[in-house]
Subunit: 258 residues, 2 copies
């Protein structure tokens, strides 16, 4: 029996999120179904770095699983390809030690959120980029507003209010906002962990700043208020991507096995 | 009663092509349903520059329709937005003279076909870019192979064999092949008219040249053979976009009303 770590990408549009739920099509469900097929019906489970919600995409989700199959690392992605639906893909598979754990061993994660700002929506982006209808939008204010979030803070203001976790203290290693195409902008957040809906609430608040419903300084004020009601709305999930999960000194990149 | 010309975009993924068919979801069907709603149930029809097949997209399809509604040009797109599904969009609407005809008055059309060449498919592009699995691909040969197609020719070799049209002579004003992103390439064809599956068969033949199953010179030989069996396969429609339709001296651009 060997333990394997797999980096996977999926288009979240047609999934009810990551986690198995009865009667729903989920990423975990499809992945386990495929893995079970590769194991001739032996019931297989996978453990992910964390869940993603409905409509949320992944470029570099990481899972681990155990297998008796003697398949070389480089062959696994092709094997998965024969059993997985077209909206998900195993990008790379690596042999890891028997105690590797996709969730507990993750040291950092990167999420990206894509925004399109303008008067016209784009039919081709409706599942992949969040559209903000605006004539004027202060991108520089958005960029500046993210600065106070970097570091270790209690992020209660940016956490879904019904969440039950012991501590809402997390560390953001990086938070940036860059233009990626005409009219398209991307938020990047790298942190040691993320609260439920944290990225989507930060983005919703930043959009209020870009649209000048809030001032740049309000982000810092809201952070320290530790009050979900002070922050902006939770933006829809289809602009959000789990981009990368990092383990120890070794980064896992979405495009390959490094 | 006034005649209007509308430029529309649609994601062809969830449509059974342009033309109304009983029991199928089509672009024309959804557009006429929306227009009928805007007219309080009065049965409305639209006439397009031409049909597109299932899975084929449009950035600049053009239609005309007649209406008693007193809506200014700039307001029409917003009105359509309230009644159309999210995978189609009216980009601009212009008042035209009463004899304007979207099909008969078109002087040229531009189609683009997007290709991804590499060892890995991309889950996010599966409905929008045709993936060619290849280690080696001669892009320069593809580019050169298109040259003999430019001009006025009998394109019988690149026409679905069951097509019943009087003449298979068409004029290609331009045919090019350029890189648009990492691993992504785009064919552009501008012509006075296109035979059924013409672009998809030309692309299928060009892919054979890129993969070195055919030589660059074979494109010219196949063109002059006027024999569909000599050409390559009809590639899938999801890489194809009706990009622009031109009328007289006035170009219609997908992004605006010029």
């Amino acid at each position: 029996m060997a333990r394997w770590k797999a980096t996977i990408a999926y288009d979240g549009s047609a999934f009810s999120g990551w986690q198995v739920q009865p009667g729903k099509r989920t990423v975990q469900g499809e992945l386990e179904k495929g893995l079970t097929k590769l194991h001739k019906g032996e019931n297989k489970k996978v453990v992910a770095s964390g869940r993603t919600d409905a409509q949320v995409h992944a470029r570099g989700q990481v899972v681990h699983f155990d297998s008796f199959l003697q398949i070389p690392s480089a062959r696994w992605p092709r094997a998965f390809d024969t059993v997985l639906p077209r909206d998900m893909q195993v990008i790379c598979v690596e042999r890891v030690h028997d105690h590797f754990h996709a969730r507990f061993d993750a040291t950092a994660k990167e999420y990206r959120f894509f925004l399109h700002v303008g008067r016209e929506r784009d039919v081709f982006q409706r599942h992949y980029v969040h559209h903000v209808f605006a004539n004027a939008f202060d991108h520089e204010a958005v960029r500046r507003s993210l600065q106070p979030l970097i570091g270790t803070h209690d992020f209660s203001s940016f956490c879904a209010s019904d969440t039950n976790v012991e501590s809402k203290v997390r560390t953001l290693n990086a938070a940036s906002y860059v233009q990626t195409a005409e009219g398209e902008w991307c938020f990047r957040f790298n942190g040691d962990g993320f609260l439920y809906n944290m990225v989507r609430i930060i983005v919703g608040t930043a959009i209020n700043i870009g649209a000048r419903r809030l001032a740049v300084e309000d982000m810092n004020r809201i952070l320290h208020a530790r009050d979900r009601r002070q922050a902006g709305m939770t933006v829809p999930g289809h602009g959000l991507y789990l981009w990368q999960v990092q383990y120890g000194h070794k980064d896992v990149y979405p495009a390959g096995c490094g």
